[in-house]
Amino acid sequence: MSRETRASRSERTGNEVTRELRADGGEQLATTDSDIEAAIRENHPALITYITAGDPSLEDTKAYVEALDRGGADLIELGLPFSEPTAEGPTIQAAINRALDAGTTPGQFFDLVDDLSTEAPLLVMTYYNMILQYGPSEASRASKAGAAKPQNKPDVRPFVERAADAGLSGIIVPDLPAEEAGPLRDACDDHDIDLVFIVAPTTEGERLDRIMSQVSGFAYVQARLGTTGARADVSNATHDSLTRLADYDVPKAVGFGVSEGDHAAEIVDAGADGVIVGSALVDIIANHGAGDAPAADELEAKVRELKQGARRGREEAPEPEQP
């Protein structure tokens, strides 16, 4: 039995994102699949990659995104840096600091995205305050110059609008739980952008249902408690989470700690539709420093290794039961 998700509910309500995800590996595509869902389904098991925009510069990021694309990434998450990255481990935290030190702004970020044309759909990953503050009106800007003047309430719509314009397919907000996501969910719906939610090892019962009723694109399965960061093994929590999610008809991608092809294989083996790799790629960028995109080749090779790992996992995976 398939439990209700945003996808299945949308279908019933006649929403334009009407679609059906088949748990047998995505062979059967619904016509209104989003770009993201389509990318996962078509390339199952999918490899989702993350790097931070502006690390170490936006020029480098452009070259690195293209390298990820060449290497076979099926989806690419681009981090828009925020000064308080409380959900990140040391690796991505450092990347974000490098990007901020380079002066990366949301405006420049969107300009970069405007400039990119990759095969893989792009998502932006950022913290909620960056979304709230984007593109304030002239009146609001003026109010910040002095003390205690009236201020427009922050609004998520300018950000989502600009993201849609730039061709972004999805948004991930690590500090926005389903309970607070109403305004952003609505704005994303209005602009056909997927809003990805994270499912944690601690997410169970009613809360799991609530998240799954809001998620679109894919469910970001957090492999373990804690923060992002490359680790040497795959935790039991991953297996448990995938088991808990088995009945929901939305793609599941596992992140937090995936660093090697073998991890990818094991995760796909455990039933995931995709793996998300971030810190392992950011490490490569960090090791090469600034210059003329010196990490591009290594990134491309790493993505290839991971993609192969994921495929190996698929071959080893038991045949999924039909829903």
């Binding site: 925020f82 000064s83 308080e84 990255p85 409380t86 959900a87 481990g89 040391p90 935290q93 600091n97 901020l100 702004t105 949301p106 913290y127 909620y128 305050n129 960056m130 709230l132 503050q133 984007y134 304030p136 609001s140 800007r141 109010s143 910040k144 002095g146 003390a147 205690a148 201020q151 309430k153 922050p154 690590p174 500090d175 926005l176 739980p177 389903a178 309970e179 607070e180 939610f197 994270i198 499912v199 944690a200 090892p201 601690t202 997410t203 169970e204 809360r207 998240i211 957090q222 408690l225 804690g226 923060t227």
Partner: protein, 406 residues
């Protein structure tokens, strides 16, 4: 979950179940006194913490300002500040909830020392995150925490101060949330923390309200408290909020100037209520010091305990509705306030509390005939800072600096 639009729970998904569990515990133990929780809390605050603290009528300040000035003496709480009210409450709550481990962040070290004391008192393992810069400049507080048996984990990231320590504690909590309680140090963070901390701190105002009526025969015309994160502020104000006749003044750290350097991402102040804009930080929608893009800026104050770019969401709401008046005084006024109280009344106040005293000096005429000022903590911890800062300036209220050289 909110105060008007302010508040909420903007945290990683992994923490949400813990917040729900905490909300449940808050309702049962704090609001409904299940298992006599609040009775035990009050008893321990009396016997261990030294409550009630006095409400002292001042002789010399009252004469100076030609009105009745009363001080609420939170500097006499065990540990030297109001911080224990909250720390003990939360550690006790964690014990009732069956948690096995306590973590907390600390900036200057006041909340860390209070939490370490409470954890030692209640026999709970405790780890404190503290920025490397703060560890290096607040050695005595590091020693105190360690003597109380707490581990102190230096945070090497960023500027090594409070913000980084909070971030790192959130990361620990995201990993250990199942058996660990995070003792947030102020009325900030995601729901239910702002309410929980406020309720533990509201004993300040509850005592003061009763004491002033006993001693002066009526409610005060105004209550003045400094505001950083806002725990002593909400603690002092909460019980007076329904008393429409009582004006409430939240005095923020004006630092050296109220302007923000957008380019450098630096505010030379911590006057969030006075100058901040709405945004989300550390789990709540509230007023913030941020750039137009939404990056949180480095705040600054001569008082480490006020040096925070956010503020409690309930205070944002009370300012929005006009119930609380946001104000600020600069570093120099605070330093003068420090010296003035030390010299005139024999009470060395925390630099945080000195802001409230600086405001009193500059605006006493607006405060009515009967004024309560919350002395949130004692200033022993600030001696070195005050000496350094006094040497740089020509302060009206300070002793000649040479006297410190002998």
């Amino acid at each position: 979950r909110t105060f008007g639009d302010y508040g909420g729970q903007y945290v990683p998904e992994a923490l949400m179940p813990a917040l729900q569990e905490l909300e449940d515990a808050y309702e049962r133990y704090v609001l409904e006194n299940e298992d006599g929780f609040m009775d035990e809390f009050s008893e321990r605050m009396r016997d261990f913490g030294g409550r009630p603290t006095p409400l002292q009528r001042t002789d010399r300040l009252s004469e100076r300002y030609d009105r009745e000035i009363y001080l609420k003496r939170e500097d006499l709480v065990h540990g030297g500040a109001h911080k224990l009210n909250n720390a003990l409450g939360q550690v006790l709550l964690a014990k009732y909830m069956g948690k096995e481990r306590i973590i907390a962040e600390t900036g200057a070290g006041q909340h860390g020392t209070a939490t370490a004391m409470a954890a030692a008192h209640l026999d709970m393992p405790c780890e404190i995150y503290m920025g490397r810069t703060d560890v290096n400049r607040q050695r005595p507080n590091v020693y105190r925490m360690r003597m109380n048996g707490a581990a102190v984990n230096p945070v090497e990231a960023g500027s090594g101060t409070l913000k980084e320590a909070i971030n790192e504690t959130l990361r620990d909590w995201a990993t250990t949330v199942e058996n660990t309680h995070y003792v947030i140090g102020s009325v900030v963070g995601p729901h239910p923390f702002p309410r929980l901390v406020r309720d533990f701190q509201s004993v300040i105002g509850a005592e003061a309200r009763e004491q002033i009526q006993e001693q002066a025969g009526r409610l005060p015309d105004s209550v003045v408290a400094c505001a950083g994160g806002g725990s002593n502020t909400m603690g002092a104000f909460h019980e007076f909020v329904p008393d429409e006749s009582v004006d409430l003044y939240a005095v923020e750290a004006g630092g050296s100037s109220l302007d923000i350097d957008e380019k450098e991402g630096v505010a030379p102040n911590s006057a969030t209520l006075s100058t901040g804009t709405d945004g989300v930080l550390h789990g709540a929608l509230t007023k913030l010091l941020q750039t137009d893009d939404g990056q949180i800026v480095e705040s600054h104050s001569v008082s480490a305990g006020l040096d925070y770019a956010g503020v409690g969401p309930e205070l944002s709401r009370l300012v929005e509705t006009g119930r609380v008046t946001p104000t600020s005084v600069d570093d120099e006024a605070a330093l003068n306030g420090f010296h003035r109280l030390s010299n005139l009344e024999g009470i060395i106040p925390a630099l945080e509390s000195s802001h409230a005293l600086g405001y009193l000096e500059e605006n006493y005429e607006e405060l009515g005939d009967l004024v309560v000022v919350n002395v949130s903590g004692r200033g022993d911890k600030d001696l070195e800072t005050v000496l350094e800062e006094t040497e740089k300036r020509d302060l009206d209220a300070a002793p000649d600096v040479e006297v410190f050289d002998a």
